[in-house]
Amino acid sequence: MKETLEIIGQIFLLMGSFSLLTAAIGLLRMPDVYNRVQTGTKASTLGAILSFIGLALMTYENWVEINWVGRFAVLVVFIILTNPVSSHVLMRAAYAMKIPLSKLTTVDKLREDINNKIVEEPKDE
Amino acid sequence: MNNEIIYSVIAIGIGSIMLIMAVIAILNNKLSVAIIAAGVVSLFASVLFLLMSAPDVAMTEAAIGSGLSTLIFFYVLNKIKRQNA
């Protein structure tokens, strides 16, 4: 039973580290800022969650006397709550700086609606 | 101890990243990039303090070095920019 918990925890830790590594590779390879924000901040969210779950499972020996699980749970909830907010704020800042989208982009409905005066432009300075 | 080896590997890696970040903070032309690089330096310094088993110093370093000084630097930069324009 206990060895099973430890092995499951190790598998989760490996999957989380691999997901973080994927996020970093995406950060290096993607063509423009928007795609980098997409892969860079959100694959890393799943990676951090999986790693924390794995580490919490690997400390099964002293779950009762030391507070491992509570602290890991607070960290996981904290990451789920803050990470989309920070990446969304970054994306809006990039759009306000008018960084051009890459050449692969097919459609930009937001720019069309700004030109049609439906939405007001996010302002820079 | 096995842990000693892995701790020194982490310390060497984080130390070299801190060194490169400090060089960027000095040499870059844009002020905002330099401020972010300085924030990265103090965030990694707090990991390094944690490796020396000093969690209280690490917490203080993260709060002061990264949070407060970055906030004050950006506030002042914004004020200066608005005054010049």
């Binding site: 980098r36 920070s86 970054l90 960084i99 | 892995i6 990039v33 990265v40 709060a63 949070g67 930069l77």
Partner: protein, 86 residues
């Protein structure tokens, strides 16, 4: 030699930090650098968790909570500065 998994994951985390560093050095705009900063701080959060597991002291995780909150604050401050608020 029973914690070989920890070694592999530490190696992956170091590679992630290196990739973030490369993007920070290369990045053409400020936003690229802030994204690299965010990715590096999440990676070092996981690294603090691994260090706490290795040295068997749960108090280190409190540092991780403070660290995560301050990195979130830093990203929001930079974005507010870019949009001209603050």
């Amino acid at each position: 030699m029973d914690n070989i998994v920890i070694y592999i994951s530490i190696a992956m985390l170091m590679a992630t930090l290196l990739a973030g560093l490369i993007r920070f050095v290369k990045g053409p705009s400020v936003v690229d650098r802030v994204v690299a900063f965010d990715s590096m701080t999440v990676t070092s959060l996981v690294m603090i968790g691994v260090i706490a597991f290795l040295s068997n002291r749960a108090i280190y995780l409190d540092v991780a909570v403070v660290y995560g909150f301050l990195s979130f604050l830093g990203v929001v401050i930079v974005a507010k500065y870019i949009q001209g608020g603050l």
